[in-house]
Assembly symmetry: C2
Homo-oligomer: 221 residues x 2
């Protein structure tokens, strides 16, 4: 049943309007949430509203990698034990959290804040490609290479990992970025594609399956 738009209170209607503007929240769920909030202690509701407002108003973005941060430089970029010559390029903050949760990566990140998508009107200048190019340029500058030498890294020019999604937009963005940074002579890699752990062969698409055969690896039992 669809609720018709006759709310007993203008305030309720406005709250439902606001809540249902969230992605994946319909007007009926929004009504349920609004009535839930109405039953909560006043200070809880104030705390809820404040937490959201403060997030939007006060959150900072790391000046190096554009990751969400409470400081000018995020905890990853300020961690001296991480490899600052390996930059993993991701679309969003959530991707950084996902990769961090794997515990398998010790480099730094670059958050693009979007993906090139002509259909949605998002071009290269709408995402942080320029900032990435600047970082890569700095990585291969004579001073940086000299420093790396001193660190015993044998003048390694560094690596950029393109960790974007495997759809058309991700591939387009990867290709665009590759063309922008290839001239600096850094190693450019992308995520391994293949069958997921636990995936059934029967349901894998041909492209993925094809790639996992071509890129097959030595079996280590």
């Amino acid at each position: 049943m669809v609720y018709k738009e006759n709310y007993p209170s203008k305030l309720l209607e406005e709250a439902v309007d606001a809540i249902s503007s969230l992605p994946g929240v319909g007007r009926r769920s929004a009504l349920r949430l609004a009535l839930h909030l109405l039953k909560q202690p006043q200070e809880n509701v104030h705390h809820f509203a404040t937490a959201i407002t403060r997030l939007r108003d006060d959150v900072k973005y790391c000046s190096h990698c554009m990751m969400i941060s409470d400081d000018q430089v995020c905890s990853i970029c300020s961690d001296r034990s991480r490899d600052h010559r390996t930059i993993c390029v991701v679309e969003s903050v959530r991707d950084v959290m996902s990769i961090e949760n794997t515990g398998q990566y010790n480099g730094v990140y670059h958050v693009l804040g979007g993906i090139i998508s002509p259909i949605n009107g998002i071009g290269p200048s709408d995402i942080r490609v320029r900032e990435l190019v600047e970082r890569v340029a700095a990585l291969v500058s004579p001073e940086a290479l000299f420093e790396a030498d001193a660190d015993g890294l044998e003048g390694s020019a560094g690596e950029v990992i393109l960790a974007l999604s495997g759809d058309v937009e991700g591939e387009t963005t990867s290709f665009y970025i590759y063309r922008q940074i290839a001239r600096y002579g850094v190693k450019v890699s992308s995520l391994a594609r293949g069958l997921g752990f636990g995936d059934n062969l029967e349901y894998a698409d041909e492209l993925t399956l094809g790639r996992s055969i071509v890129n097959r690896q030595i079996f280590k039992p």
Copy 2:
């Protein structure tokens, strides 16, 4: 995959805490919503927070029926064309909205604000039964009956419709209320139980099916 609790920002973590306190919203959805809000224009987020705060702070409850309202008396109770001698007793604000949306009811309401549930520690004094009893008493007072007479209602004592859910707690609450108001001589009714429109006989439970046979109605094609 479950996100481990390592957020890149304390503000983000606090917003996720707040959002995931909503019913039916897990931490992962909460993160998605928080990151969505981060991308919205600042004034939209402020509007969102304000709408929720104002709902909690400024909403009123009708002094007659306890329905959510922007005024002291709700639009239903202040509507002279409605039958004020028929009171439909419901658990929640949402029930009023549901019944109003049927367009089949022209009386007034009484919102209990809960249901008697010993397992959840909710007793008769936690819901608005006393207020209902007072309304029923006023309905059958000599003055009210005199007024009704003048209105050509032939001194009708009025009716209380118990529109509570059909589970144990609803039935318990209905029975409790019945015992409180029966002595006033009002007519007490409850919602018709039976097969829903479009319901398949095969899947109906025995109680419902039994009741719909006993309370069968003349077929009107």
